[in-house]
């Protein structure tokens, strides 16, 4: 539940002010807009990667703004996509001569607003492209991959796009690489309890004791299906069975791994689960590459976690390994 606020109507504004106050060494406020931009953005000759979405997912999205990562994040209200107007303003602030790549999770509201902004920017001669993250295998069947929503896979796609942009790749290339990262990324999650919106007292959904939800969203949506709770090693198998059944074809055996906590699942629990995930990955002949067990895309204080695999090749590995700095993720 959300306890720390003043007026819930000011939540987004206060959170942006607080974020910029804390991380002013990395970001500044986009003037007159609900968003933040990297202190060094825009950079001439370098594509600006613009991410964004509703609030309530920290570190997504503002936590990933900084050198080597996103040039800016557009920040909506809690679980509400930012408006096209705000996307437009943020884009104007960070558009460079090399163009702009929009990268965000595939949700109806985000698509509507980012698309409207993209049109408007293109009318003004800014070259804008879009790569939507569609990693959640639970949200649409195989063959309809582009209908899927984006959850924790955001992180890998942002990282790879940001690294390509920082390297100076042209817009076509940054777009291609982001799309490739997305095409090779799959996530699946389980939830044990819903989250509560600021100002409200009841969670968006509840999970009965001894049950869990499969195929969670990161907006307090209930899962696709309800199931019984089980020991960690069976949860690991459930996650991996689902992901491996959906593995992209011919993608090799090196996988970046993210075990992502949604908010109130304990880190220690996630490491216990990761033990079983790791064993299973090795059994399957997969090589986990620099795994991350952390909270990277949250859903307020939701209880649950998701597993993301990104099948790497050499060019994606290089980009994942590239240095970056941001409030939430620093690589060196």
């Amino acid at each position: 539940m959300t306890r720390l606020f003043n007026d819930p109507a000011d939540f987004r504004e206060e959170l942006i002010e607080g974020f910029v106050a804390a991380y002013g060494r990395l970001v500044r406020r986009v003037p007159d807009a609900s968003g933040v931009m990297a202190v060094d953005a825009p950079q001439p000759g370098k594509v600006s990667v613009v991410v964004g979405g509703g609030s309530g997912h920290y570190p997504a999205f503002c936590g990933y703004v900084g050198p080597g990562l996103a040039a800016a994040a557009v920040m909506g209200n809690v679980f509400a996509a930012p408006s096209a107007e705000q996307v437009y303003r943020v884009t104007k602030a960070v558009a460079s001569d090399a163009g702009v790549l929009y990268c965000y999770g595939n949700y109806s509201g985000d698509v509507l607003n980012f698309d409207m902004a993209e049109l408007r920017c293109q009318d003004e001669g800014i070259d804008v492209r879009t790569v939507r993250v569609t990693d959640d295998v639970a949200s649409a069947p195989r063959g309809q991959e582009e209908e899927r929503r984006g959850i924790a896979g955001d992180f890998f796609v942002f990282k790879i796009a940001g690294a390509a942009a920082a390297r100076g790749d042209a817009l076509d290339e940054v777009e291609r690489l982001a799309r490739k990262a997305n095409d090779r990324t799959r996530s699946f999650g389980v939830a044990f309890g819903g989250c509560t919106l600021p100002g409200q007292s009841a969670p968006l959904f509840t999970v009965a004791p001894g049950r869990m939800e499969l195929g969670l969203g990161v907006h307090g949506e209930p899962g696709i299906q309800s199931s019984h709770m089980r020991p960690a090693r069976e949860v690991a198998d459930l996650l991996l069975d689902t992901l491996l059944a959906d593995a992209p074809a011919d993608s090799g055996s090196r996988v970046a791994v993210l075990l992502n906590g949604l908010g109130s699942t304990q880190y220690e629990e996630m490491f216990v689960l990761y033990k079983d995930i790791n064993r299973r990955l090795l059994t399957e002949g997969l090589t986990p590459y620099k795994p991350i067990v952390n909270e990277m895309v949250t859903s307020l204080d939701m209880a649950g976690c998701s597993l993301t695999l990104c099948w790497l090749d050499d060019e994606l590995t290089t980009l994942l390994d590239a240095p970056c700095a941001s409030a939430a993720y620093t690589n060196m």
Partner: protein, 214 residues
Amino acid sequence: MSSPQIAGAVVRRWLALALETVAAHEEELGRLDAAAGDGDHGATMVRGLRAAVAAAEKVNGSDGQLLAAAGAAFADAAGGASGALVGALLTTTGRTLGDGPYDTPSVVKALQAGLTMVKRLGKAQPGDKTLIDALQPFVDALAAQPPDQPLAAAWRAALPAARQGAAATASMVAKRGRSAKLGERSLGHADPGAVSLALLLQAAEAVLPSATDR
């Protein structure tokens, strides 16, 4: 009951009443959205309407012009899917109405333009369990009224179609928007966007001039 002489007065009063009505249903809309979506629809609509009311205060102009300005403010403040779609509906309808007076046929035309825009942007069709399932039946019913019928009467006659359309979404499986991911799980609850759209239309009933503007 109204003073159509004052330009923009109808839209101003409608927005005020719409805000009041939707705010009274904020929690219910949130609950409906939580059933298969993310629970913010009530908050989003209230936020958008507050901004729309404030924007309309600041603009001098016709009802159409005010509606267009209110739509832009709504979209920006609300955000989300409903911000973009309801905002576009208001803006397109307002622009099509233009700066002159209006009657039943011109309002029908304007709403049809708004509906078309909503469909174009959101790519949803009737039956997909969205606000279109309240809007389309209403526009159709309004268009079916005799063209010389005063707007207020025509509007009143068309309202049940919006309400029924919204109610009927309870037995639909979502195909668009967040709740589409939940498939069968979205059954049994009305679509929040359809319900709030019906509330918006209902709020207009009380403020429309009982004789057309001209």
